[in-house]
Amino acid sequence: MATIQALTDQLKKKFGNAVTGVENPSATQLFIDFKKEKVREICNEVLAQGGRYLVSVGTDNLAKDGTLGLIHTFAFDKEHYFLSLRTATKESEPIESITPDIPNAGWSEREYMDLLGMKFTNHPKPKKLVTADDWPSDIYPLRKEVPFNIKPLAAENVAYQLDECPEGCSIVPFGPYHPTQHEPAHFALFVDGETIKGSDYRGFMIHRGVEKLAQTQISYNEIPFLAERICGICGSVHAASYSQAVEIAVGHKISRRAEYIRTIMLEIERVHSHLLWLGVAGHLIGFDTVFMQAWRVREPIMWLGERLTGNRKTYGMIVIGGVRRDITPELKQDILNVIGTIEKEMITIKNAIIGDTAIHRRTKDVGYVSTEDTIKWSLVGPVARARNVDIDVRRDMPYAAYDEMKFSVPVVDCNDVWGTVLVRVLETFEAISIIRQALDKMPNDGPILTPFEDAVPAGMHGITAVEAPRGEVTHYVITGEENRPERWRVRAPTYPNLQGVPMMLLNNQLADVPIIIGSIDPCFSCTERMEVVDLRNGGMKVMSQSELEALSRNKR
């Protein structure tokens, strides 16, 4: 047990003068400032004490004191608090990378190499991550002096250099546009025959600069709407997470009723998201009955969202200080009716697919990751719970009204894609039970919105996590001048999970790639054309669907 006190004492004892400050503004927040020379030792010590790595936050303080800040954040699930290790470095001085010990920090550190111009020593893969291939190497877009809408000139013929392909393997490109992915992301798969022996990832092709926009253009009360548009499926989660981070940073209390309504909205979103994922997973393994039926069952909950909030999705419900619309007694009955139907239908679906040998063959032992590796790579959400890692921030770091909810966290030890199916189906039932409890216990009075009474003070830090359907979302907010955050860091659950995908893919078959990638994050799109490139003369011919069909039929 590393309670806040025990951990502080231990770090102070072990590192002495390297620890320069300790702040403990509330029961869930612990901030420790330290000198950058000790970064790796301190992070290792925190891991040894039971910390789980979340994300790193890079900040630009060049105008203030000529430094670039770096904050490594950890969660102590058993002891229910977040630890933020804050340090700073001069612009020209490198800082030691923690990626050799905590592989999941790899992307965070690469991100700040690209966006803030930080330098890391001993980073195992110091390649471009976020910025485009032709982005000038001396413009760091997240620095304060760079305008939010800068458009450097484009360069031609610039390409990302893939990792070295292992001996005897060939490269199969998967994406950027692939029928089973709904977002552009490029996986280069190194295959030996049909077996995957390694992979390299080049993504961030749709990096939109949401954080920069929030830090330069809009204000506190508008960011929830921007946050909601980070994700089309778990939008409320981001709005809730951002709002909570600001509320925690400035110590703003919201009414209990608003917290209950937030809980209900988050769980409604979970039911819809898991049903959506179940359908997509069925589609990815070529089982379209599941796809059609799961989406049919899901539709009433979309209509319910429309009645509750005025929109099928992107509810626009959660803002700083509470929620925008109330749940009236009629709507309460409406919710109960809809989730009752969905529960019945869900049992039917569960019975129909749980024993289906076709699904078992496509998902069991596919995407195997051992429990130790899951913990080492800090995977989150159903991906981790399917691999026998018992984490769920709803239970470990209760927010909104989850402290009064009774629910179990489904954890299975299949360690494969089948486990993620099971976990998500079981979680849907838990979500329905939470909605019922919340409706039952919700206090009948109290304002639904408690706005700020005074201006938001600058320089306050707040970190929070919300359990999204796909895993936990972490938001870190530093309040700033001019009515907007100085820094807002968003970590979506796919961020750690996607880093684990190369490990899941290893030694699997090429045909299982869509469902393995789909098991962390639903994605699909349909392209009915393909390009044929003639290598000899460089000519290009686009084949239509009918030509393709004719070609494939003739072959048979």
């Binding site: 809408n149 360069a155 610039v158 009955t289 289906d356 009515n483």
Partner: protein, 181 residues
């Protein structure tokens, strides 16, 4: 095992029957409180500019043509239909209608322009009290944005405001090698 699953799946499919809606041929009503196209009631609007100052997508612009005439433009092309304008309107002059069939060939069909005659105060000569203690300033304290309304008309910021030095740097940027070279 396999057969029982298949039988269950067949029942799962047969039981609900057809669920597809006959939508384009029959109208599809939307529920109360739906957030459709916003509409302005010019009888109620006092021209305070609250909607313009708080629109997260920045689709509402206000410009004072002269002391007595204030023009409001709503550009629906970028609207996200969040309904924030209707929330903050002190006079409830904005309603989110149930109109959602907004596909159009011309962006102008989505825009609303309103010319407001701003009565001048006999005592101070101003249209609207912009000093302390008004509703907008109080909202500003509570974390809302309040920009100079005149400046809003030039959003999004035009290219003249780019840092030219930084742009020049990108010219001399050394390109990475080509693949295969």
């Amino acid at each position: 095992m396999w057969l029982t699953s298949k039988i269950k799946q067949v029942l799962l499919v047969i039981k609900p029957g057809t669920v597809t809606l006959p939508y384009p041929f029959e109208p599809h009503p939307v529920p109360e409180g739906y957030r459709g196209q916003p509409s302005w009631d010019h009888h109620k609007c006092i021209g305070c500019g609250g909607c313009a100052a708080h629109c997260p997508a920045r689709t509402i612009f206000i410009r004072d043509l002269c002391q007595d005439l204030r023009v409001m433009v709503y550009d629906g092309g970028r609207c996200t239909y969040c309904g924030r304008c209707a929330d903050v309107c002190p006079e409830k002059a904005i309603t989110m209608t149930k109109n959602y069939e907004l596909a159009t060939g011309s962006k102008k069909d989505l825009c609303t322009t309103m010319e407001l005659f701003m009565a001048t105060c006999n005592r101070c000569g101003r249209c609207y009290e912009m000093e302390t203690k008004n509703a907008i300033d109080r909202m500003n304290l509570k974390g809302y944005r309040y920009d100079n309304l005149e400046m809003r008309a030039v959003l999004p910021v035009c290219t003249e405001q780019f840092d030219t030095g930084m742009l020049a740097k990108s010219d001399r940027f050394k390109r990475p090698e080509r693949i295969g070279e």
